[in-house]
């Protein structure tokens, strides 16, 4: 496919203080193609996206659109040039209807309107993003995350852009929902629009992209046609070195049963769950949003109350009434949303690490700081966190390093069981392998781990045993060796939907 150049950014450079975010980057985009932008955090992807969308002005470099030099130095100019960005965060107003959000939030919003005309124009936009069965009168807060993402895309479509930038549109979606977003992306490209697609998920790239531009250390590669790449070569280009195995080997033998869940019921579950975890085992659980995986893990963590059933830890009935009780019994829990309830972003690494085990290093309520620093220092060494930076706030770290702090803080409670939701969300490829290795090491020391993830590839690659959830019930548990990856994907989408998706 060789069509004309839609956008050409030539020799673009941008420096922030001592950081050279972009170094002489050249980036091109043809009409009607999907260009995937790949790279680790801080490699320059988001900077080039900001340049194209007019949010930042490059220090030097030129931009051409359709062969003519273009000024897109402000976001308004960029929009006028036909460039639109689908944000990761939703800019919709929850209490207003889908139609109101779609039509009234625009600069082209009519000065006065009837409810009917409003719904009619919304209808047309919704059809284009595959939401033909969604009532435009629905309040946005009643939508699923995937639907919200699609409404967000529809909002952008209302502007009739030539170039649409997707900035990690699927970060919060499960596999089945991603299919819907990818369908829309393909449709937009087939209408002759150019798509810039930023993502951490490699699977999607091979499904949707025509070409790939890889960023590394502020420099970009030549665009590469997707059929000349495979997952391994892409990852190696992203991290700039050869990749060992992404996933560590699974356990050779498992120990005694550590955690035994029998007929557990919790709010959000439709059927009681029975499953167990042995010492040295990583149990993976996966399912779509709303499948009950989150409720299951959070109940074990003591975040939500359990309604019925028994949870035995090392043979004794566990007290799951609060997080605090869970911590006392050695249940560690890393939530899916680091920013919201994982890290303390304005607080130092040291104090983030010690947050769950302050009691352990204190005498009559006074923190023994030497002991605190000592345990935190051990954790930092174990997790390759720079010990000289123990005093800097966690908010300044990359996603991967933040995740290491979130995992590391639990080592100090000497956990028996570790519950981890989405261990690598927003973590770049290099740090990802490191986190998998770390989880496996902990497991080899005798911990039992439950990993809940919407990324089936991750669950399949990392875990010893894999359980699938669908609509509030555990549908299948098998040893990893008894699954194949396509089977697992199918099980997650629960057969009928799988057929519909492809």
């Amino acid at each position: 496919m060789t069509s004309e150049l839609r956008l050409l950014a030539k020799n673009v450079s941008k420096t922030y203080g001592a950081v050279r975010a972009l170094r002489d980057v050249t980036f091109e985009l043809r009409a009607g193609e999907v260009m995937a932008l790949l790279g680790e955090n801080g490699a320059g992807k988001s900077t080039i996206v900001k340049v194209i969308s007019g949010l930042i002005r490059p220090d030097k470099g030129t931009i051409e659109i359709d062969g003519a030099p273009a000024d897109i130095s402000t976001s308004q100019l960029s929009q006028q040039a036909g460039i639109a960005v689908v944000q990761q965060e939703y800019s919709t107003v929850g209490t207003m209807s889908v139609a109101e959000n779609l039509v009234l939030g625009q600069s082209t919003a009519p000065k006065w309107w009837s409810r009917r005309s409003l719904n009619a124009s919304a209808r047309a936009l919704l059809d284009r993003v595959g939401l033909s069965d969604l009532d435009p009168r629905t309040p946005v807060e009643d939508l699923s995350v995937a639907e919200m993402q699609l409404v967000e895309i529809a909002r952008v479509l209302a502007r009739d852009a030539k170039i649409v930038i997707f900035d990690e549109p699927t970060a919060a979606l499960s596999d089945a929902e991603i299919v819907r977003v990818l369908d829309v992306v393909r449709r937009l490209a087939s209408e002759g629009r150019s798509i810039v697609y930023v993502t951490h998920r490699l699977g999607e790239v091979f499904e949707v992209a025509d070409r790939v531009t890889i960023f590394r250390n502020g420099q970009s590669s030549e665009p590469i046609a997707i059929d000349q790449l495979d997952v391994k070569s892409v990852v190696e280009k992203i991290i700039g070195r050869e990749l060992g195995d992404m996933y560590p080997p699974v356990a050779e033998s498992l120990g005694d049963v550590l955690l035994e869940v029998t007929d557990l019921m919790a709010p959000g579950l439709r059927e009681p769950v029975t499953v167990s975890v042995r010492a040295g085992e990583i149990l993976g659980i996966t399912g779509q949003l709303g499948s009950g995986t989150a409720e299951f893990v959070q109940t074990l963590a003591g975040v939500h109350p359990k309604l019925a059933g028994s949870v035995r830890l090392n043979g004794a009935e566990a007290d799951l009434r609060s997080r605090r009780a869970g911590i006392k019994q050695g249940i560690a829990y890393c939530s899916a949303d680091r920013k919201r309830n994982g890290i303390f972003s304005g607080i130092s690494i040291l104090r983030n690490l010690s947050s769950p085990w302050l009691d352990r290093v204190s005498t009559i309520g006074v923190v023994r700081t030497a002991k605190e620093a000592d345990i935190a220092g051990q954790t930092a060494r174990q997790f390759a966190i720079d010990a000289r930076r123990m005093g800097s706030s966690v908010g300044t770290l990359s996603g991967g390093n933040q995740q290491k702090v979130v995992l590391g803080k639990w080592i100090g409670i000497q956990p028996t069981v570790l519950l981890v939701e989405e261990p690598t969300r927003g973590v770049d490829v290099g740090a990802r392998a490191e986190i998998y290795r770390k989880l496996r090491e902990l497991c080899n020391e005798g911990l039992g781990i439950i990993v809940s993830s919407s990324d089936t590839n991750e669950v399949f690659g990392l875990c010893d045993t894999v359980a699938t959830f669908y609509r509030g019930a555990l549908t299948n548990v098998r040893a990893r060796s008894e699954w194949t990856e396509p089977e697992l994907v199918k099980e997650v989408m629960h057969r009928t939907e799988a057929a519909h998706a492809h």
């Binding site: 994982g342 923190v367 000289r388």
Partner: protein, 333 residues
């Protein structure tokens, strides 16, 4: 991971350099303002005749001690993400009334201290429980302040409460190395609160729930219990401030101390403790209190009326809070 560790190490080094400069900028945000403001006051003081004398500086510290003790005491509440107590004036007034009243009535200093601290802690904990149950702290403390003010005015009939001959002047006047006792109380209370915040489990929990309540819950910290502790710590400060104020004034009426709430909030903010919680220190609030009083003092020496003084404090708060907000935002980008 095999191969090419050198590039990797170089990248890591580059990144930690970046983080290094960032950290320095955060530290700048932390300490720049107290230092700059201190310098400003010193410069203004040098150009203001009469400012730099020992007697004047001592007067500033004496005047700052009440506001300072309350501001230091209020800091844990601010750090815990519960903003301020807008009932500070009334609470301190209540403490002074109780102290003077009980001391005058019974002649027992011990009983007076016990009742004052006990009642104030009970009132503070009650507010803490209400806030922990989910009510907005600003509304809760404002309402509590109004109720206290109303009750005291009603019960005292608006009369002036006097110590009835009991001697409490020594609390205000005992002096070592030329500095009277209230200044030492201010300093000691600041150090104790600093220790509580920085070095005790409760203090750390206060910082954690202020920094991110949800993360704190996951880490096993109860936001409710911790909030109650923060309010308890604040009410001890108010009791101490009321005792010192009572001893200094020798008498008290329900409508004394009208500007105390605003001055205290200003001291916490000028000190640079984050309104959102999680960041700041009682030490900073103590510095903030001294600065505000010093600023008022300079204006007084220049013969400016009270209105100008309040204008000055108000502007100072706006400038400091804006600058801090910008610095914090920049350092987290």
């Amino acid at each position: 991971m095999p191969t090419d560790t050198s590039t990797n190490a170089a990248t890591t080094a580059a990144i930690s350099n970046v983080v290094g400069t960032r950290t320095r900028r955060v530290d700048l945000a932390k300490w720049a303002l107290p230092v700059i403001l201190l310098v400003l006051v010193i410069v203004a003081g040098l150009t203001t005749p009469g400012f730099a004398s020992f007697d004047n500086l001592r007067a500033i510290l004496i005047n700052a001690s009440i506001v300072g003790i309350v501001a230091v005491g209020m800091t844990p509440v601010t750090l815990s993400g519960n903003f301020f107590s807008l009932g500070a004036s009334s609470s301190v007034m209540l403490a002074a009334v109780l102290f003077i009243g009980v001391f005058g009535g019974t002649g027992s200093l011990f009983l007076a201290l016990l009742v004052t601290i006990g009642v104030l802690v009970a009132v503070g904990v009650a507010q803490g429980l209400v806030v922990a149950a989910g009510l907005n702290p600003v509304i809760t403390t404002l309402a509590a302040g109004t109720i206290i003010y109303g009750l005291v005015t009603w019960l005292s009939n608006g009369a002036v409460i006097t110590p009835n001959g009991a001697d409490m002047r020594w609390i205000a006047l005992t002096s070592w190395f030329g500095l009277p006792l209230p200044i030492y109380i201010f300093a000691a209370y600041t150090l104790v609160t600093w220790f509580v915040v920085e070095r005790t489990v409760v203090g750390r929990r206060i910082l954690l729930i202020g920094a991110n309540r949800e993360s704190a819950k996951i880490s096993g910290t109860s936001a409710r219990t911790t909030t109650v502790w923060a309010f308890l710590s604040m009410s001890v400060g108010m009791a101490v401030a009321g005792i010192v104020a009572g001893a200094q004034l020798q008498q008290i009426q329900s409508n004394d101390l009208p500007n105390l709430t605003m001055d205290t909030v200003a001291a916490v903010l000028v000190g640079g403790t984050s309104i959102n919680g999680g960041e700041g220190s009682p030490l900073r609030s103590a510095i903030g209190a001294i600065l505000i009083v010093a600023l008022g003092n300079i204006m007084l020496l220049h013969g400016l009326p009270t209105g100008y003084r309040m204008l000055g404090v108000g502007l100072l708060v706006v400038v400091v809070v804006s600058v801090l907000h910008i610095l914090r935002k920049a350092s987290l980008k």
